[in-house]
C-alpha cells in the first residue's frame, strides 16, 4: 500500500501494527528492510505486549529495548507508553508528518500488555496474576476518561452517554450477525478467481449423470449405455 502511495505521489501514510512476537518473523524483517530502503511512507506500531501465544517475549527475544530494532533497518524509533492515549497520539502525529515529508519509515514502540489470551480458546492461565492486576490499573481507556473529566472536556454523564451509545451499537451489530444464517454450502466453490467460470467444480460424486440413473444408484455410464443399446 505504501508503495502505491509513493508511486502515485499521494500524501498518504500507511500504518502497520504488530506484536513483539510477529516482529521476529522473516517476513517482518524483510518488509521493514525494504520499506526503509525504498523510503516508503510507513509508520510501524510495534506493540510490545510481552506475550506471543503462550510464551513470554523475554524467552524468545534477546531484545531489551525494543526501539533498538530500528537500527537494523536504519530508521528512527520512538518509545511511548502504549497505554497513554495522548503520548501515542503525539508520537503518531510526528511519525505521520515525517512520512508525509518524504523522510520515510518510523517505528513507534508501544509499551503495553496483552490483557486477554492468544485467542478465544486461551484463558492464558500461564500469565502471572500479579502482572495482569498491575496492568489493569493502567487501563488506557479508563485513564483517558479520567483525564477528559479532570480537565473538563467531558463529564461523567457525557461519557456514560457515549458508553451506552457504543454498547447499543455493538449489541445491535452482534445480534445482527448472530441472526444471519450460514452461507449456502455450494458457495464454497465460488470466489477463488475473479472469473466465475473458474469456480471449483461440483464434486463428481454429487452430480447427477445426465441421461442415467445417477451416481448414487450405482449405475455407470457404460452399463447404462449398454442397457440402452440392448
Amino acid at each position: 500500500m505504501a508503495l502505491s502511495f509513493r508511486t502515485r505521489g499521494e500524501p498518504r501514510v500507511c500504518f502497520t501494527f504488530q506484536g513483539d512476537g510477529a516482529s521476529r518473523t522473516g517476513t517482518s524483517h524483510e518488509g521493514f528492510a525494504m520499506a526503509a530502503a525504498l523510503n516508503l511512507p510507513i509508520v510501524v506500531v510495534l506493540e510490545h505486549n510481552r506475550w506471543a501465544f503462550g510464551t513470554p517475549s523475554t524467552a524468545v527475544a534477546a531484545v531489551k529495548d525494543w526501539a533498538d530494532v530500528a537500527g537494523a533497518y536504519g530508521v528512527p524509533a520512538v518509545t511511548v507508553d502504549g497505554n497513554d492515549v495522548l503520548q501515542a497520539y503525539e508520537a503518531a502525529r510526528q511519525a505521520i508528518a515525517r512520512a508525509r515529508s518524504g523522510e520515510g519509515m518510523t517505528i513507534i514502540v508501544a509499551e503495553t500488555y496483552r490483557m486477554l489470551g492468544h485467542a478465544q480458546h486461551d484463558a492464558q492461565k500461564y500469565v502471572p496474576d500479579a502482572e495482569l492486576i498491575e496492568w489493569k490499573e493502567h487501563d488506557p481507556i479508563r485513564s483517558f476518561a479520567d483525564y477528559l473529566v479532570e480537565f473538563g472536556f467531558e463529564s461523567d454523564s457525557s461519557l456514560e452517554a457515549i458508553r451506552s451509545e457504543v454498547a447499543a451499537e455493538l449489541d445491535e451489530a452482534t445480534e445482527g450477525v448472530l441472526a444471519e444464517s450460514h452461507p449456502a454450502a455450494e458457495e464454497a466453490r465460488t470466489r477463488v478467481y475473479a472469473d466465475p467460470a473458474l469456480d471449483a467444480d461440483v464434486p463428481w460424486t454429487r452430480r447427477p449423470v445426465p441421461g442415467y440413473e445417477g451416481l448414487v444408484s450405482g449405475v455407470s455410464p457404460r452399463l447404462a449405455s449398454s442397457r440402452e443399446g440392448a
Binding site: R24, T25, G26, P183, A188, R189, D201, T205, L215, R222
Partner: protein, 332 residues
C-alpha cells in the same frame, strides 16, 4: 502382574508424545525446537511435560520464525544432531519453504551431507479453523525429490512412523491430522517396541471387489463407507492406508489393484495436483491391463479451506462421496 501382551489405551496425540520421549531417552542427540513447545507445552499440548523432563537445551522455545527453526534444524542435522522441529500448525510451514526445498531436500545431492531432521505438525480440516489452520500441505512438497513424508491414521503408526522418521538419515515431513489427535484411541503395546518403517503401506481392511487407496483422516471415512457398502450392497472393499506418502508404496497399491481390478483414491487435499493424480499415473503405468474400470478420485474441492461450517462440510470429501464413487466403480 503385567503379562507380555499388556497394552494401554493411547490417543493419537499421546502416541506422538511417546515417540518423542522414547527417542529422546534413547538418544541424546534428539532434540525439539518450535514455537510454544516448552513451558506452554505446544499449541495442542503434544510436548506437554517434556521441558521438565529434558530441559531447555533439548526442548527449545523459538521465536515465531519458521525459516530459522528449519534452518537451525538443518545445521544441527549436518553436525550430527537429530532435530525434530514443530510447525505449530502445518500451514505455517510456508515461511520455511526455501529452507526445506532448497536446503534440507537438496543437501545430500549437492554435498553428500544429508539433513536427517523431522518437521512435524498438525494438518487437516474439519475443526472449523479456517484457511490458515486447516491445510493439507503434502502436495506442495510432492514434487521435491529428497523429502520423505509421513501421514499416519492410527495411533500405532503415528508412534511407530515418527520414531522411524527421527532415526531416518534424510529429511522427513510428518503430517499429524489434528482431527485425530484426541479422537483416535487405541490399545498400544507396553513392552514391545512400536516402530513402523517409512515407505510401507498397510491394509486397513481386506476386500476383493474394489481398492481404496487413502491416508490420514480419510482412512476412517473410507472405512465407514466400506462398511456401509458391505452391509447394503454385499461388496467388499479393500482399503490401503499409505501411512507414508514418500517413498510411496506403489507395489502395495499395484498388488491390491491387480486383485480387485478397481481403484478409488481418497484424500483430503484438493484434487488438482494432489497425490491421487500421481498414484493414478503409476497404476496406469504398471497395472493398466488389470483395471476393469477407470481410476477415480474423491478429494476436497479446489479452493482454500473455508471457515463457515456449511462451507467446510461442502469442501471436505464425505462418506457419501466415497459410497457414491465406490458404487459407480463397482457397477462399471
Amino acid at each position: 502382574m503385567m503379562d507380555s501382551a499388556a497394552t494401554v489405551e493411547t490417543t493419537y496425540l499421546t502416541a506422538i508424545r511417546e515417540a518423542l520421549q522414547e527417542e529422546m531417552r534413547a538418544d541424546e542427540s534428539v532434540f525439539l525446537l518450535g514455537e510454544d513447545i516448552g513451558a506452554y507445552g505446544g499449541a495442542f499440548k503434544v510436548t506437554e511435560g517434556m521441558l521438565d523432563e529434558f530441559g531447555p537445551d533439548r526442548v527449545i522455545d523459538t521465536p515465531i520464525a519458521e525459516a530459522a527453526i528449519v534452518g537451525a534444524a538443518i545445521g544441527a542435522a549436518h553436525m550430527g544432531l537429530k532435530p525434530v522441529a514443530e510447525m505449530q500448525f502445518i500451514d505455517f510451514i510456508a515461511p520455511a519453504f526455501d529452507m526445506i526445498v532448497n536446503f534440507a531436500a537438496k543437501s545430500r545431492y549437492r554435498t553428500g551431507i544429508g539433513a536427517g531432521l523431522v518437521i512435524r505438525g498438525p494438518c487437516g480440516a474439519g475443526s472449523r479453523s479456517g484457511p490458515f489452520h486447516s491445510q493439507s500441505v503434502e502436495s506442495y512438497f510432492a514434487n521435491v525429490a529428497g523429502l520423505k513424508m509421513g501421514s499416519p491414521a492410527r495411533a500405532y503408526d503415528a508412534k511407530g512412523l515418527l520414531r522411524a522418521a527421527i532415526r531416518d538419515p534424510d529429511p522427513v515431513l510428518f503430517f499429524e491430522h489434528k482431527f485425530l489427535y484426541r479422537r483416535i484411541k487405541e490399545e498400544l503395546p507396553v513392552d514391545e517396541e512400536v516402530l513402523v518403517p517409512l515407505g510401507v503401506a498397510r491394509t486397513h481392511r481386506e476386500g476383493s471387489d474394489l481398492t481404496i487407496v487413502t491416508y490420514g483422516a480419510m482412512v476412517y471415512k473410507s472405512a465407514d463407507a466400506a462398511d456401509r457398502i458391505a452391509e447394503e450392497d454385499g461388496s467388499e472393499i479393500e482399503i490401503i492406508d499409505l501411512r507414508t506418502l514418500r517413498p510411496l508404496d506403489t507395489a502395495a497399491i499395484v498388488e491390491s489393484v491387480k486383485r480387485t481390478g478397481r481403484l478409488l483414491i481418497v484424500h483430503e487435499a484438493p484434487r488438482f495436483g494432489g497425490f491421487a493424480g500421481e498414484i493414478t499415473a503409476q497404476v496406469c503405468e504398471e497395472a493398466f491391463e488389470w483395471l476393469d474400470a477407470p481410476i477415480r478420485r474423491v478429494t476436497a474441492i479446489d479452493t482454500p479451506v473455508p471457515y463457515a461450517p456449511t462451507l467446510e462440510d461442502y469442501y471436505l470429501p464425505g462418506e457419501d462421496d466415497i459410497v457414491a464413487a465406490a458404487r459407480w466403480l463397482l457397477a462399471y
